[in-house]
């Protein structure tokens, strides 16, 4: 993009128009002492010196990369095929922004349409939108959809086994108090909420129940049983999930979830210390008017040719501002494109294969950890690629030991609950092979 600075003449004309002669007249209201303060800055660096300094600083980070990390807890290390960044860096796609004059951007709309189609297939739902900021905000928006669809019901219940960060975002979204949020405690028995945990809350003012599948601790809760109970009470089930487990597990939409939200980072988006990520939001078709954000649709033009449009825009902020379903009227364009290319690159069979490898590596890791003296697995039932393990020493000491060997350990659950300070949430993906896991085990055994 070309940057055109104002010329001296432009400035003179502008100042004449607004009736001033000196630029300083514009900033005259700012006290002299703070107008042009002396900043205590180090001496200017040349570009070469600055590059060296930044590179020194960057080398002090231990960045997650294939094979060196067992940390998941919502952000996952996966191999990203070269096709993803190659296509992403094309000028036609390379923008973080949703199209604002959309119909001239047929290629972008087609990518969004394909993204939506693949997300709906992955999550097992009828519809999906053009993406949200991240998994946590997608979940909060999904919860609001359940409330606005049910009109007279005003209460949401969130399981204690939902990601603590997601629960925090939900709390923030609902902090105005117009919607009542009930948070269940972290389930200590096998780290899983049971369908009966929700029974006391199935009242006629319940709008929805929020669960996670697999849950934050890796346990696979009974979505079908909760869905049946919630539906019998006339409410909706909102499920937070992740893409990779769905390579093996039945998708939440097929198990009766009404609204499904997911963090899409695992689909070809680098971990990048927390963002930008991409939220997936999908639901039954009957929620289409409550769904925030953008929706691309396929249509035919006046010549009968296939084309793409943004559809149902009346739900959005820019047409009916005061009645908008949400203040989100954009999408995470670049990251959604990455997810689309990732899914297309792997295909259904490749995706299942990646999921299978995650599963087997994680189960090998769990088995090896459980064989160490004093180590104990924390879940009662099946898991996918993440699980709780109790160590004989504080989790932070385990992680410190691993870090000196260049390995990023698990998530210290003491952060969530101080009584769990010996518990780690460990994750393995297709990037953690047996040799790497054996090395981890030998360090811990030493």
């Amino acid at each position: 993009m070309t940057f055109n600075p104002h010329t001296h003449q432009d400035r003179a004309e502008m100042m004449q128009t607004i009736g001033i002669t000196e630029f300083d007249q514009l900033v005259g209201a700012i006290p002299e002492s703070v107008r042009y303060p002396n900043l205590d800055l180090p001496r200017l660096l040349t570009e070469m010196e600055a590059a060296a300094r930044l590179s020194d600083l960057a080398e002090r980070n231990l960045a997650p990369k294939p094979g060196n990390t067992y940390l998941g807890a919502g952000s996952y290390q996966h191999f990203i095929p070269a096709t993803v960044n190659q296509i992403l860096s094309r000028g036609e796609f390379y923008t973080a922004y949703t199209p604002y004059q959309p119909e001239v951007s047929q290629g972008t709309l087609q990518v969004i349409y394909e993204f939506q189609s693949m997300v709906a297939a992955l999550l097992g739902t009828e519809i999906a939108n053009a993406s949200m900021y991240d998994g946590a905000t997608a979940l909060a928006e999904g919860a609001l959809m359940a409330v606005s669809a049910s009109k007279k019901r005003n209460r949401l219940v969130v399981a204690g086994s939902v990601h603590p960060g997601y629960r925090e975002v939900l709390r923030t979204y609902l902090s105005s108090g117009q919607i009542e949020l009930i948070e269940l405690p972290v389930p200590t028995t096998g780290f899983a909420n049971r369908p009966e945990d929700f029974a006391p809350y199935l009242t006629d003012d319940l709008a929805g129940i929020v669960i996670q599948y697999p849950n934050f601790f890796g346990a696979i809760e009974d979505v079908r049983a909760v869905a049946d109970a919630v539906h019998a009470a006339g409410a909706n089930l909102i499920v937070a999930t992740y893409p990779m487990p769905l390579g093996l597990l039945k998708p939440p939409g097929e198990l009766g979830a009404d609204i499904v939200a997911a963090e899409g980072q695992a689909l070809g988006v680098a971990q990048s210390y927390g963002g930008p990520y991409v939220g997936l939001l999908a639901s039954r078709k009957s929620f289409v008017r409550q769904m925030p954000g953008r929706l691309a649709g396929q249509t035919t033009d006046s010549e009968g040719k296939r084309g793409f449009v943004l559809t149902l825009q009346t739900r959005e902020q820019h047409i009916r501002r005061e009645k908008a379903t949400s203040n989100i009227c954009t999408n995470q364009g670049l990251m959604a494109t990455a997810a689309t290319v990732y899914m297309a690159s792997l295909g259904p069979e490749g995706f299942r294969e990646a999921a299978r490898r995650c599963y087997h590596n994680a189960h090998y890791l769990a088995q090896q950890l459980a064989s160490l003296p004093g180590w104990e697995l924390g879940l009662d039932d099946a898991f996918f690629h993440e699980f709780v393990v109790k160590a004989p020493e504080p989790a932070k000491d385990v992680n410190a030991k691993l870090l000196t060997a260049g390995i990023i350990g698990g998530f210290d659950l003491g952060v969530v609950d101080p009584t769990l300070d010996h518990h780690l949430l460990m994750c393995a993906t297709e990037t953690n092979d047996r040799a790497g896991i054996d090395r981890l085990i030998s360090i811990l055994a030493a």
Partner: protein
Amino acid sequence: MSAPSDLRFTKTHEWVRLDGDVATIGITDHAQKELGDITYVELPEAGDAVAQNQPFGIVESVKAASDIYAPLDGEVVERNESLLTAPDLVNASPYDDAWFIKIRLKDTAQVEALMASDAYDEFADDSAH
């Protein structure tokens, strides 16, 4: 088309047909023409209260999304389910098949303040320009 003489009208382009203490409510022919092809109608449920001059429903067309205002105070006794699946009825038959809701009135005298058909025709003519 001139507005039917047996109906009463609002400045927000709703019509009212009174039958005892039950009023049937819809939007006018003028309104559906201004909106263009109607693609979606959202209606309250039986038992819901509606209040005069307050929105009770939404109509979306290819051009716009608009609130529909209750001409009178009352309680919904029935809604036109067929509009939910066939919103284009509003374009085809605004005064007959495409009624929106029937409400039991709190105060039938409120009807007197609404416009008669000739007054509405004049009003709609003016607002069209």
